[in-house]
Assembly symmetry: C2
Homo-oligomer: 123 residues x 2
């Protein structure tokens, strides 16, 4: 079973965390490949990253992709999230846990921004 865990920073604003949960629900609809899609938060909201990983694995995930929903490669992306992933790899050696590049690293972001800007100009 393949699972995807979208990892966001987490916010004191409940609405921001709910935005992530709504996006996660949309991913479930879009997706054809992953049997399970969940979100987790680095801080300030629940579930935490270890909790999110544990839930997916307890539900039967044998391949788990952790995808950081971040725009820039700060400490959270370069250290904190990889640290959590490495801990989980030690704890669950039978599960293949992969860390995808953070969203801002996507080569597609540029095209998406230009599309969004063009729509704003009504062309």
């Amino acid at each position: 079973m393949k699972a995807l865990l979208l990892v966001a920073h987490g916010s004191r604003r409940a609405a921001s965390n709910d935005e992530i949960r709504a996006l996660t629900a949309r991913l479930r609809d879009i997706d054809a490949e992953f049997d399970r899609v969940d979100c987790a938060f680095l801080e300030l909201a629940e579930p935490s990253i270890p909790e999110g990983i544990r839930s997916a694995i307890h539900a039967g995930a044998r391949q788990l992709v952790v995808l950081p929903y971040f725009l820039s490669a700060g400490r959270h992306v370069s250290e904190d999230i990889p640290g959590e992933v490495n801990s989980a790899r030690s704890e669950y050696p039978d599960t293949e846990i992969m860390l995808a590049p953070y969203l801002g690293a996507s080569a597609e972001i540029g095209r998406l921004l230009v599309m969004q800007a063009s729509e704003a100009i009504g062309s």
Copy 2:
């Protein structure tokens, strides 16, 4: 002349701000519609939003799209950036200044995330 101003939060980490500048350079390459593409920062980095808007208008922009490079609709997206845009509209009544939806509002984000996760799993 049409101009695009990508607005990011700004960071104390120079590398994060440089990531935005590199993305802005990629937008110039991708884009066919905008004659000018620049970035500006809400705080912690230069140029500021008013400076970015002024530069584009002084360079001849008659239509300017401001696009918030943010993932969630917090105070920055819902209040601070619209406030800056409204001030600029008062100051430059001859320029059409449009505020595009923030990146996280894009309907395409979900598809992009699923694509990125699938690449991580090697399928």
